[in-house]
């Protein structure tokens, strides 16, 4: 008898929970997804005999989708972006060779497979906008006006490098003309800084777009959260590319976060999120363009998740043996330069084979010149490490970049008050 009585409330509860909730208690959000394919695969650690390895599960047999026509790019612009991507890739090949010749100090970081994201995104920036590149966005530095020789001299620690030998790889910037913020080695820290650049511009009455990047690994840091949230609350024009290249060093994306797509994070910040194919230069550009226009109109930040894969290890020393081979094969077929070349030469027929070959030759010639210059340039003297710790003796004149801020004069007066004290 008692058992029956206990069942009744349980049954009633089951009935209640089975009934559909009214729609007002449910929320839904949309994340725009511009990709022409949506692969579903996951990575897990499994034991195979004596060792633990990563195993990929999912259908990797889909054919490579076409490049999605851009809504905004002209033929000339597409070819320009293609050239930047070529320069980006061939520069990194040259860096790899320099490393093998023992001419590089320290390691080399590659953005292999990610050139479309670096180049097409930065291409959407205007002169007065700002860029904060991460380690694999060397292509964006080229688009922004630095040369291959600048980057090579950085890697070779030469006196003529943008940091005069004081920092490595892509850790350089330019506050005067190219508007680039130099990254530091810790991840996510550029995000609040770029937000602050937009804040400074706004205080000077100017609405700009500021663009930076973060990886699937890097987005795990606390400062990433603080930075995006600050930009959202302050409605600053931050265009954030979340480059989900599936690997943070040896750690797969499945071990960095629980959400299905990183663009979903945008919901948490209250900003628009959009997903694009990171190996499709047109999709990258369109998303960047729309986000930058939003930013310049004062409509606030956008989070763009670009999906792709890191096609080399974390740095040159890392063979990336932990990456399951089928994944490399899948993404190799989707190489951004191969796809874009095919699009320009075969699909749109905007480049003849001869023009394409000429373009490639020109890029290789520029790189040869830059490599010669960089290799033959001098190392810094030991004494050149001294000085510059502080900005002293008028070494910089600091002026507002966009114009003197207009100040509103309120009627408040300086207060001499005895206000509430927290402590004795």
């Amino acid at each position: 008898m008692a058992k029956k009585k206990r069942q009744k409330p349980a049954q009633a509860a089951a009935r209640r929970s089975a009934a559909p909730l009214s729609n007002r208690n449910q929320r839904s959000y949309t994340i725009a997804d511009h990709r022409l394919e949506m692969p579903e695969f996951s990575l897990r650690q499994v034991r195979v005999g004596d060792s633990v390895r990563y195993e990929v599960k999912g259908d990797l047999s889909a054919p490579v989708p076409p490049i999605r026509d851009s809504k905004y790019l002209s033929k000339k612009q597409c070819i320009e972006i293609y050239r930047w991507m070529l320069l980006n890739r061939k520069m990194e090949t040259a860096l790899e060779n320099l490393y093998k010749q023992g001419k590089v100090v320290g390691g080399v970081y590659f953005g292999l497979g990610q050139e479309a994201c670096s180049c097409a995104s930065a291409y959407a920036l205007h002169k007065e906008d700002w860029l904060g590149p991460m380690i694999r966005n060397q292509g964006s530095l080229l688009v922004r006006g630095f040369s291959a020789r600048d980057i090579m001299m950085q890697y070779m620690a030469k006196a003529g490098s943008p940091t005069k030998g004081r920092d490595a790889s892509s850790h350089f910037g330019d506050i005067q003309s190219r508007n680039v913020v130099a990254p530091i080695s810790t991840l996510g820290d550029l995000i609040p800084v770029l937000a602050g650049v937009a804040l400074g511009a706004r205080l000077q009455g100017h609405s700009i777009a500021v663009m930076t990047y973060i990886g699937d690994g890097g987005q795990s840091t606390g400062v990433t959260y603080e930075g995006i949230n600050f930009a959202a609350v302050q409605n600053l024009g931050l265009v954030l590319f979340v480059e989900n290249n599936l690997w943070g060093y040896s750690t797969p994306a499945d071990m960095q976060f629980r959400v299905k797509d990183l663009a979903e994070r945008a919901i948490a910040y209250g900003i628009p999120g959009v997903i694009v194919d990171g190996t499709d230069a047109c999709q990258i550009y369109d998303a960047a363009h729309e986000a930058c226009e939003r930013a310049r109109r004062g409509e606030g930040p956008t989070l763009i998740e670009a999906k792709m894969m890191r096609m080399k290890g974390h740095a040159i020393h890392d063979a990336a043996d932990y990456v399951p081979k089928p994944l490399f094969e899948y993404w190799r077929k989707r190489d951004c330069i191969t796809r874009f070349e095919n699009y320009l030469v075969n699909i749109k027929k905007w480049l003849t084979s001869r023009e394409n070959a000429a373009l490639i030759s020109e890029v290789e010639r520029v790189l040869d010149e830059d490599r010669e210059f960089a290799v033959n340039s001098p190392m810094p003297t030991p004494e050149s490490a001294a000085g510059g710790v502080h900005c002293e003796d008028g070494c910089h004149q600091i002026k507002p970049k966009y114009g003197v801020p207009k100040v509103s004069a309120g009627t408040g007066k300086f207060k001499q008050t005895e206000a509430a004290v927290h402590f004795r």
């Binding site: 530091i184 603080e226 302050q234 100040v407």
Partner: protein
């Protein structure tokens, strides 16, 4: 001349700089309509508007990062930390992003990070610290610790005008406890220069912030015993005024270094080494350190008293040193 508290002097200094230079703005938690947890920015939002007095989410890394970003466009942000104990939350931005910017890529960072530090207010471990040495230890930053209302105004104005990142530690014990005549006009106290708070001939006490007042009170007691104490207020911890340190040792030949910061890693060790390098032959006795104990700051008043250096510590050590 009006009498202002140490806090009001800081307020007046920032106010004047915001009047004078439209690139100066304030950013921090609760600094707008509330006027700041300690009311340093009281009245600012009414006068200068919400655009220049920005309330932020609780996100210290974002506060410092955004201030740095704004400074790259030529603004001069004044970032408030509600308590300097929370500066740990922005540590990476300060020492890695900001401090190294000018050295490695030629980008000056003309921002000021300011807030209340120090104990003797029953604040417990997270509202009473003296974190200055974490930043003295990072090349590229300047660290300032005023002890008087006059200096507080002059130094905050100098810090705002400085092209370098300045960490400005305001001793909360002094906020409303000291009041002095502060000129209403525009004046600067230069960074990197100590001042002699009391002239003396028998021994020197080198100190800063709230301990300056402890040293001065001890000096009055010692004067009655015929011990004439010179008190040197460092004012800036980085860069240290090495000349002033050497000079006072040359004058009195005996020195006590007094600070409210903990013993290990406190600036007394650094100053002792500097004296060793610059004025060893002038010493007639060992360099004495009087500091807080090596522990977190305890909360209960009798415990905090045990933890902190006090006047009787100074008097006792001065007598011993004089007799050496």
């Amino acid at each position: 001349m009006p009498q202002l508290t140490y806090l009001e002097a800081i307020r007046q200094g920032i106010w004047e700089e915001m009047e004078r230079d439209p690139t100066v703005f304030c950013i921090g938690e609760d600094i707008g309509i509330y006027g700041g947890a300690f009311k340093v920015t009281d009245g600012f939002i009414d006068r200068f508007g919400a655009e220049r007095v920005i309330d932020t989410p609780i996100a210290e890394s974002a506060i410092v990062g955004a201030a740095f970003g704004a400074s790259l466009t030529g603004m001069r942000p004044v970032a408030e930390f509600q308590f300097m104990d929370f500066i740990g939350c922005a540590f990476n931005q300060i020492v890695n992003m900001v401090a190294k910017a000018h050295y490695r890529w030629g980008a000056p960072a003309p921002l000021v990070i300011r807030g209340p530090s120090g104990g003797n207010v029953h604040g417990g471990p997270f509202h009473s610290q003296n974190p200055e040495m974490w930043f003295v230890h990072a090349p590229g930053l300047k660290v300032v610790c005023p002890a008087s209302a006059y200096d507080a105004k002059g130094l905050i104005k100098a810090a705002i005008r400085d092209n370098n990142p300045v960490i400005f530690f305001e001793h909360k014990y002094l906020y409303r406890r000291i009041k002095e005549e502060v000129p209403e006009e525009d004046y600067i106290v230069p960074l990197g220069k100590a001042r002699t708070a009391r002239e003396g001939h028998d021994l020197s006490i080198i100190t800063y912030a709230a301990m300056v007042h402890v040293a001065l009170e001890a000096a009055e007691i010692l004067a009655k015993e015929g011990i004439d104490v010179e008190v040197v207020d460092l004012r800036t911890l980085s860069p240290l005024d090495r000349e002033a340190i050497a000079q006072t040792v040359g004058k009195t030949n005996k020195v006590i270094v007094l600070h409210e910061d903990v013993r290990t890693g406190g600036i007394a060790g650094e100053i002792s080494s500097i004296i060793n390098e610059e004025a060893f032959d002038d010493l007639d006795g060992p360099i004495v350190r009087i500091t807080a104990r090596d522990s977190p700051v305890p909360f209960s008043p009798p415990q905090e008293e045990y933890f902190l250096p006090n006047i009787s510590d100074v008097v006792r050590e001065a007598r011993r040193l004089k007799a050496y």
